[in-house]
Amino acid sequence: MSSRPRVSVPATAASGDIIEIKALISHTMESGQRRDASGNRIPRKIINAFACTFNGEPVFSCAIEPAVAANPFLSFSARVTESGTFRFTWTDDDGSVFEAEEAIEVS
């Protein structure tokens, strides 16, 4: 059904580097546009927001609509100047929040 977040962050980087981050979560992203066999609309249930912070500071976030494909994938960048931890959150329409963390060593 939902929620096994996977993120890809380089283990190490040099200070000032811009790194690429990829984030994916398993989720059906039910759009609210589909109908079941008896013609009733299947209620919307999507991941509607994603956010990434580094050592508590916002890096990137995304507002997500039903037009984003199932198992929503995001790629984005971050400039790193110190070692620390990226924290990722995905918010479901039902209020659940899924989380992941990745540390990076910056020299």
Binding site: P66, A67, S75
Partner: protein, 153 residues
């Protein structure tokens, strides 16, 4: 006679294709109306007229399946004080709803670029609109041919 001849198979296939095409015409996918599409962009820009340039939207010219189409956007910006992209929103004029996703950047993003995978209900135009911290707005658009729509899938 059970054995299907090549001609039979071809006839059946053609029939199935025709039936499918007919069905597709009968239930055309819902499309956001032009006014809703323009209103969504206006809400995002705050009424500022988007300029051409600085934004590069990348997605395929044609896809067989609209259920997962890779899209990425990159905006020319120093991503520091005075030249900062705050947010980039993606809109699609042929989906049931015009909004697709909105990427919010900070100076810690390093560069204003991001990618995702989207659903496209039919052939249409996809637009990326970038709003800078100084209030200026830039955009890019691409049209994409979709063989099988992805919203009802």
């Amino acid at each position: 006679m059970i054995q299907a001849t090549r001609r039979h198979v071809l006839t059946l296939t053609a029939g199935a294709v025709a039936a499918f095409a007919g069905g597709a015409i009968g239930i055309a996918p819902a499309r956001a109306d032009e006014e809703a599409f323009q209103a969504a962009i206006r809400d995002f820009t705050g009424g500022v007229e988007p300029q051409a340039g600085r934004v590069t939207l990348t997605l395929p010219d044609a896809v067989e399946n609209g259920s997962s189409v890779p899209v990425s956007v990159a905006v020319e910006s120093a991503m520091s004080d005075g030249d900062l992209v705050e947010e980039v929103a993606i809109f699609a004029d042929g989906n049931p709803l015009p909004g697709v996703a909105a990427f919010a950047f900070t100076a810690r993003s390093g560069v204003a670029s991001a990618g995702t995978r989207i659903r496209l209900a039919q052939s249409q135009t996809v637009v990326a609109v970038a709003r800078f911290a100084d209030g200026s707005v830039f955009m890019d658009s691409r049209s994409v041919e979709v063989t099988v729509g992805g919203c009802a899938a």
